[in-house]
């Protein structure tokens, strides 16, 4: 009998908070500035300097914690996590150990409908500071350090080991990112490193309670890589277990070129961070009223918004979920919905042609540059039969390219739909005269021949003829 293994996965997400200044000093957090231009005695860890907590970073953290259904710690304490590494100027990181900002929350991961949903528990959300950035010039025997990132406010979001497949991990991360974007506390940009993810994964025989030996996987800078790396790890650990070999507790790096995880041999010594309370920061006790105020001010989150889209706009569950998955897309839909009546058509266009255009250009809805009123104008032109749906697709592409309005493009290019009976009839008669063979086929009972004739009329009118009228007119002249 084949043994079946199940994966046990926990994820750690690091999120850079979008504040003006760093967590414990007034240096700018702006990305992409020249090296070491945003540093000061505090974030460089000079003797005698004193960190003071950024209030906005703290309030943002509470906001995230509440949105993830966490409890806020009565007394919040910061600790020093001690380790030596050149990206850490103080040789310790200000982090949180035994009294983290918040704990015991959850994210409901609903993909493919509510029934298929899964609750992933959040163990803790705590605030810490980011480290500097190391650069390794090729062929050099040294490394370079830029401390602009050192001291940036970083939120660590840790799940319980609730996740059992790479797909679930992917769906959790997607749901989490969506919530974080709604809160507008971070740009959540993985390429810039504002959002990063590490995974802990072990396997055990299905049904067993005890956890297996845990492997930590790092260096996955997209959700897709998280999914791939976890799939690889499950395969690797399963074959080791089946061969009766030992799985070693270690950290492995994802290699996105080779599609494998590789052992980080340098870290074989056990970590011993020797945490102790950060004596330079006093404890934090948040007033219950402040917590309630932040809770009340939380925006409508993706799940609630999707439910409302189904209820208020009559959208399908699928369309509602796609639209509300990204806050900017959901906002865009609602702006359009205020000035355009047919919500289902609107959802189809945004999730269809607009989404295809965004993907092709690798941009988001904001940088696509189609104002809600301009999309509404285009859709209204289809509704009143000024243009055909097919031509509208071309017009949309043209709108994006030229930044011109739909009406302008249609009139300047002569794309208006031909709904004039006389004009269509003229073309229909012409086409019938030129295609006697298809006409006799049709009359002989081969009804599909009409498709060819419709196509010929559309071709002659460069796609502008009203297709329904063409169809009717052809049938009339074919004697039906």
């Amino acid at each position: 009998m084949k043994r079946l293994y199940e994966a046990v996965i926990g994820l750690e997400v690091h999120l850079q908070l979008e504040t003006e200044t760093k967590a414990f000093c007034g240096c700018s957090t702006e990305f992409g500035k020249s090296p070491n231009s945003h540093t000061c005695p505090v974030c460089l860890g000079f003797p005698g300097s004193l960190p003071v907590l950024n209030e906005k970073a703290f309030l943002y953290s509470i906001k995230v914690a509440l949105a993830l259904n966490c409890k806020i710690q009565d007394t919040i304490k910061f600790d020093r996590k001690n380790y030596y590494y050149p990206d850490l100027p103080k040789n310790f990181q200000i982090s949180q150990f035994d009294m983290p900002l918040s704990y015991d929350g959850f994210v409901d991961v609903i993909s493919g409908g509510r029934e298929a949903g899964k609750r992933v528990h959040i163990k803790r959300v705590h605030l810490e500071e980011d480290a500097g950035k190391l650069i390794h010039p090729s062929c050099a025997s040294y490394s370079l350090v830029d401390f602009n990132r050192a001291g940036m406010p970083l939120l660590e979001i840790v799940t319980e080991p609730d996740i059992n497949s790479p797909e679930e991990a992917y769906n959790y991360l997607t749901a989490l990112k969506s919530i974080l974007q709604y809160l507008r506390v971070s740009d959540c940009n993985m390429e810039k490193g504002s959002l990063r993810c590490d995974a802990n994964i072990s396997i055990r025989k299905a049904g067993e309670k005890e956890l297996g030996v845990k492997v930590e996987v790092k260096n996955m800078n997209s959700f897709r890589w998280v999914r791939e790396a976890l799939s690889f790890e499950i395969g690797r650990q399963t074959s080791l277990a089946e061969a009766g070999e030992r799985i070693i507790q270690e950290t492995r790096l994802w290699d996105a070129q080779k599609f494998v995880t590789v052992s980080m041999r340098s870290k074989e010594e056990a970590h011993d961070y020797r945490y102790f309370p950060e004596p330079d920061l006093v404890p934090f006790i948040v007033d219950k009223n402040i917590i309630e105020d932040i809770r009340k001010a939380l925006p409508e989150l993706p799940d609630a918004r999707a439910d409302r889209f189904v209820k208020d706009y009559g959208l399908s569950e699928y369309d509602a979920r796609v639209l509300t998955g990204q806050v900017d897309l959901a906002d865009y839909f609602e702006e359009c919905a205020r000035i355009y009546a047919n919500k289902k058509t609107l959802a189809n266009w945004i999730n269809g042609d607009i989404a295809a255009q965004m993907n092709a250009r690798n941009v988001n809805i904001l940088s696509l540059g189609i104002e809600p009123k301009d999309l509404a104008e285009l859709l209204k032109m289809i509704d009143d039969q000024s243009i055909s749906g097919k031509i509208a697709k071309d017009v949309l592409a043209e709108m994006i390219e030229t930044k011109k309005r739909a009406g302008e493009i249609v009139s300047s290019k002569g794309l208006s739909q031909i709904s004039d009976k006389g004009e269509i009839e003229k073309t229909v008669l012409d086409v019938l005269a030129k295609n006697e063979r298809s006409v006799s086929d049709y009359k002989g009972g081969k009804k599909t021949a009409i498709t060819f004739l419709v196509g010929q009329v559309m071709k002659q009118t460069r796609g502008k003829a009203n297709p329904a009228m063409v169809n009717d007119m052809l049938k009339k002249h074919l004697g039906e």
Binding site: N54, E55, V145, M264, P283
Partner: protein, 98 residues
């Protein structure tokens, strides 16, 4: 209080210090003496004292506003660095996994 040589070696490794046998010997006895001294604190009865992580027990919630302050010039930031290249601090090579 006893501190064995292995503990000293482990602390040295974590602190990135290279100790020879003689130094390990010396520091284990010195560390033991320091810890024995600190151990005196355990003689105090703290049964009715709340645990505290900070000496300023009445001070809490000290924040700063999220407002910009000027940073050091890169040249100033780097002025104490033993080694630099351009506007970067330069350190011995560190590449994970190699």
């Amino acid at each position: 209080m006893q501190i064995d040589k292995n503990t000293v070696k482990k602390i040295a490794l974590l602190s990135r210090l290279e100790l020879d046998e003689k130094e390990s010997e010396l520091y284990s006895s010195q560390l033991a003496a320091i810890l024995s001294y600190i151990d005196k604190l355990n003689e105090i009865d703290t049964k009715d004292v709340l645990p505290t992580s900070h000496v300023l027990s009445t001070l809490k919630n000290v924040f700063r506003k999220d407002s910009l302050k000027s940073s050091l010039d890169a040249a100033d930031a780097l002025s104490n660095a033993p080694s630099k290249e351009g506007d970067f601090f330069k350190v011995p090579q560190v590449i994970e996994g190699k």
